[in-house]
Amino acid sequence: MAGQERVLRRRIRSVQSTKKITRAMELIAASRIVRAQGRVQAAVPYSDAITEVVRDLAAAGAGRDSPLLTPRPDIKKVAHVVVAADRGLCGGYNSSVIRAAEGSMREHGQLGRDYGLVVVGRKAESYFRYRNFRIDGVFTGFTDQPHYEDARNIARAVEGPFLAGEYDLVELIYTRFVSAGRQEVVVRPMMPLDLQILEGGDARPDARDDGSVPASYEFEPSPEEILIQLLPVYAEARLYAALLNAAASEHAARQRAMKAATDNADDLITSLTRVMNRARQDAITSEIMEIVGGAEALRQAKHPAEQALVLPTEHDSGAAA
């Protein structure tokens, strides 16, 4: 009986230390959500401003024939930029992004379109590698704290093949951070840039709603040249916003997952403690029984004459045997 108690005690101790870890991860994730949210907010003025510039340029009539703005009539290959996390232990965060990516690839596949795959985050990489997908680009090591540099590297890796005509469409799959309690996986077209959805970016939907007619601008150099320089930057800014959203979502998902794990550990400890206490009680009871029985047997051995005065009990027979 004592053996079972020891096993239970060890089990409880192990659950307790796991709980400490999950609790710590929960707290870390919670504090990082705040910081990540701050970074999302800090990127808003820039993305507002650049959206405004792109819109003003478009209003001036520039870029009607820019390859980055023109949808292609015949789409043969669709690149998917999948933004997942480097680390696990964040609930369904990675798997929902990956599922959305696979769904989108299947959809395009049914239309006879080939896929391209650019993965962000170690988890997405290992998933797709294990399943023998063709991976065109891998970016890892920064998903919980992306920098603008990272966004630029990814944007460049996609832009080259897009402009060269290898990709006809680039889709961005990431988790949008709506609030600490809600994140959603979204699939957004990234290239060609759609001026219609400029308004509905991740930054702020109502960048400029006062209906002001853009003034007639002077341009230096020409509008076309500015646009050529500006559009890649604009794509980078959108990707950066997506990475920041994904990072905030990752922390939120991890916090939720770790909170659930901590709560589970609590429940487990409660029930295990209950079982252990019962086991200990049983062990003590049977020990007492054995001692009483043993003492009785000894007494009988010393005074065999008194045997007739004692009522036989089951312990007598047990201990004597």
């Binding site: 003025p45 401003a49 003003d56 601008y217 320089q229």
Partner: protein, 133 residues
Amino acid sequence: MANTMNVMVVSPEQVLFEGEGEMVVCRTTEGQIAFLPGHTPLLAALGTAKVRVIQPDGEFTVAVHEGFVEVTGDRVVILSDVAELPDQIDVERARSAKQRAESELSSDPENEASKSALARADLRLEVAEGVSG
């Protein structure tokens, strides 16, 4: 007409400056340009250069490595994916980068990467020293 304008300098990661300015001096890909309040609307690409915002009570300087400037009436917005404040610049690093770029250029004078590295290092030193000096 107001004699100041609203100036904002933003990079993707933060707003570096937001406030009133009497004049903004910067360099576009075409050349040096200064904006005063009431400047005609303009959209320009910036080169690697120092941007100065002259304020009623001082001056704000920032190193901009390419970017865009948009002027609308009494508002100037400077957008740059790499913009550095003078106190963010590592002078030692800029110096060694400059030396490296110069030595690369002496062996290969046509190397574009070294040329722009040199321009960046020069700019960093100029901006950083403008404050300490």
